[in-house]
């Protein structure tokens, strides 16, 4: 699952404290949950959304990127440290400046819903963009859940509850949820929190298709929905006026399956919501002409320096090691103890019940 949370900065003008950042933040978690080399396209999907979001201004500290498997430095990759999204290796979405927050086995349902270490510090002015890609249950009666690493799953009800918790704790202002999997629409059916907009690459009962294979790499590079999404986002720049209706309609007519969208819970009209509200961020900068006096740095005390000469430790002091006795931490009873204990028990037994039983033992 790719979770990208996006918060928009330019939307709200109040409380701009410092000269650099504005207080509302965009948190796009991009999450990919499937493993194995043949799921290369899921990594390419996630990384392309990550790139677009970074290009439009969101800093790495506000992005949570979860990739369940390593494709770029995988030994099967003919061109290491690259992940391509277009065939003939035109476009390297991995780039040189990528920071993955959760990778490999760390991508679990638990870390997705309640991240322990790298969490999103969003507040009630944050707009969040969540992008998920992976594999859901197949069309044989398995819709409504999303697989994590082939061993766990998250259901649409859990997702809806998680969003409701976020709403109760005032952790977001508006949330855009994009999912690119088979039967993606089943994942947002159960949402009930306000200010949620959801987009999916396919309806219930439909499969989401991959776009183009590359013969040198040997696998499919991208999914169709994300491919057109990326094409659309490449044309968006931070001051663009494109709105949500453009996003929904761009992906609708070119793909062969019908993407779905769910805007009932969203309070504003989708036509008035800018793309950059979720995908980009503008930082307000305040320039000041006053001078600031810096105090000189504290000099470290030279008085309390050791006078005696220090030495390096011997790396392999053979004599010392041989004579080093390992410390015995656990106390073990002495060897004859158990034997003595049993002798005592036997003696007490024969004392009590008489010596005549002794002949039955020997």
């Amino acid at each position: 699952m790719a979770f990208s949370l996006d918060t928009n900065c330019g939307l709200l003008n109040h409380n701009i404290i410092g000269p650099i950042y504005c207080t509302s933040t965009i948190f796009p978690p991009d999450i990919l949950i499937t493993q194995f080399w043949f799921n290369y396209r899921h990594v390419a999907n996630t990384l392309s959304v990550y790139r677009s979001v970074k290009r439009l201004g969101i800093p790495d500290s506000h992005i949570v990127l979860m990739l369940a498997d390593d494709m770029a430095c995988n030994y099967r990759n003919p061109k290491p440290a690259t992940v391509f999204s277009h065939k003939n290796m035109e476009f390297n979405v991995y780039g040189d400046d990528v920071e993955v927050d959760y990778r490999g086995y760390e991508v679990t349902v638990e870390n997705f819903l309640t991240p322990r270490s790298k969490r999103l510090l969003s507040d009630d002015r944050s707009n969040i963009l969540i992008y998920l890609t992976g594999q859901t249950g197949n069309s044989h009666g398995g819709n409504g859940f999303l697989k994590f690493q082939d061993s766990e799953e998250i259901s649409n009800m859990e997702l809806a509850d998680a969003f409701e918790q976020m709403w109760q704790k005032r952790r977001y202002n508006e949330l855009l949820f994009i999912i690119d999997t088979c039967q993606g629409a089943s994942m947002y059916e159960r949402f009930y929190s306000p200010n949620l907009m959801a987009l999916a690459s396919s309806q219930v009962g439909e499969d989401s298709l991959s776009h183009q294979p590359d013969l040198a790499i040997g696998v499919h590079l991208m999914d169709k929905y994300t491919f057109y999404l990326l094409e659309f986002l490449e044309e968006v720049h931070p001051a663009s006026q494109a709105n949500m209706n453009d996003l929904v309609s761009v992906c609708a007519h070119r793909v062969s399956v019908s993407p779905g969208h769910h805007t009932d819970l969203f309070q504003r009209n989708p036509g008035s919501v800018l793309i950059t509200d979720f995908f980009g961020s503008v930082r307000k900068v305040e320039i000041t002409k006053d001078t600031i006096n810096l105090t000189s740095s504290v000099k470290s005390g030279s008085g309390d320096m050791q006078i005696e000469s220090l030495t390096y430790v011997d790396q392999l002091p053979v004599a010392e090691i041989i004579h080093q006795k390992p410390k015995q931490k656990d106390w073990h009873p002495p060897d004859g103890f158990i034997l003595g204990l049993w002798t005592l028990i036997l003696l007490v037994f024969f004392q009590t019940y008489g010596i005549k039983h002794l002949k039955h033992i020997f």
């Binding site: 770029a72 430095c73 040189d96 740095s297 320096m305 000469s309 220090l310 790396q315």
Partner: protein, 572 residues
Amino acid sequence: CCSCLELFFVGEMEQKQAIWCLNPKDQFQEELVIRPLHSGDIYASFQFRTLWDTDFLQEGQKKVSHYRLFPKSLGQVLSKFSVQELHISFTQGFWRTMQWGQPFIPSPPGAELWVWFHDTVSDVDGNWKELTNVLSGIFCASLNFIDMTNTVQPSASFKPLGLGNATDHRFLRYATLPREIVCTENLTPWKKLLPCGSKAGLAVLMKSEKLFHSSFHSQAVHIRPICQDEQCTSKAWELRQTLNVVFDHYTSGQGKKEWSLFKMFSRTLTEACPLASSSKVYVDITDNPELFELSPATPLLSQAVVLGDRRTYSVYDLTRAETFGQLRSFNLLLRWKGDNMLRPLLHAERYVAGFGLQTGEIHTVIYNNHPYRAFPVLLMDSVPWYLQLYIHTLTVTSKSRDNKPSYIHYQPAKDRHRPHLLEMLIQLPPHSMTEVTVQFERALLKWTEYTPDPNHGFYVGSSVVSALVPSMVAMSTNFTQDQPLFSSFVPVKEESSYFVRVYTEPLLVNLPTPDFSMPYNVICLTCTVVAVGYGSFYNLLTRTFQVDEPSPPLAKRLANFIRRIRGVPLLA
């Protein structure tokens, strides 16, 4: 002293460098060593060193708050966790000692972290846990998987490489993650720790597309306190960032034994890092001209004793403008001429023997190729708890005779708590092969403890062989500031031998894997049996049958009603 003052006095500097001497106590040096290998491959080793005369462990008023060349993230980590020494490395690939010789800074495949804490720390385990979490965030790696099940406390290996009298091994922690992948997301934060970043100096050569397309790639961070001067009356903190990479002439070189900086890194050098007090490129020309030829030639030569051998290096000083020539760019060219074989004095390998999924045997083989000298090695093995070692089957044989180690420290594993730790000091006879074998049994894990892909196998970390190898040339025990960085990493105590650490291969072991669909099968079967069996049984016991006549149709009912009134017998 202040590095910028030196630069102002050097009259022939053409580059205008505006450096403010706010805090003259730190300096930065960078160097690149290129060593052509006998097989046609090429070994490049970058070392970036920041020296800072400060004390991180101070509290209160004197707490360090102004950082210049030293990265703030690492400085805060050192002071918060009272770290005396920190060594962390990320490696992709395995160092082939037989073909490539000894590396300047050895490292095992995967991630390795060992830390000496200051002796004022009261809860070492707690500090270790938090430190691994913080480092995993800084380097974008999964170091948070380091916990008590894969951390050991070696009793004789891994003595501090810096100053200090900490010989109480209670303050040492060592862990490896052999499965850790290294990719661009680990290189990016590593590059950001450098003062010049990846914008100027030698770090511009670090492009991930070329660096990861190699046989061996290792990046490491080493932090330790060292002597500031020869008399060693005061300490300074040293941060060394090293990056070792070996380019294979088949994959990166397209089969031709010819290398240039542009071919290796797809970049050339255009300037030194302005914040560096020294920026040099060394090329090992000891085997020139029999093995290869080098251009552009340079009159600057330097000799250094490193790894027990005296080697000659061509030095290119990047702080001098004439190194860059007319084109303002510096590119080296090396062309191979002949082949030669190499015999390293010490190397080790490890493998698993046996068949089936129940038992096995770990064999560690250590080779001593010195013709007449014997020397001791300290072998440290850390085996995870799910491979249950039978230490009574431990045998050490050299030249088909029993070789009794002079020191053995064994700490058995506790299931799900800590791994096995075996340390042995073995004397290797000259020109011999020593084999250490121990049998083990594979444990069956609980079904939730398996990774999502258990059929891949489970990794066992590399063994560490630490040795004092007799040196062919006298090593120098004096420490000077002008020594090149690659020869001054390990402190030298005596002239006749040098300290070396060799890592073996990690092992990949298959554990008996259950069929994970069994819980589903069991539930289905049980529910079916209960439904069919119990349901039928319950029905048999409690169901009774009653005869129930259907109610007659309307006409008949009407007829019966009239007949009852008339008093005539009713219809059936």
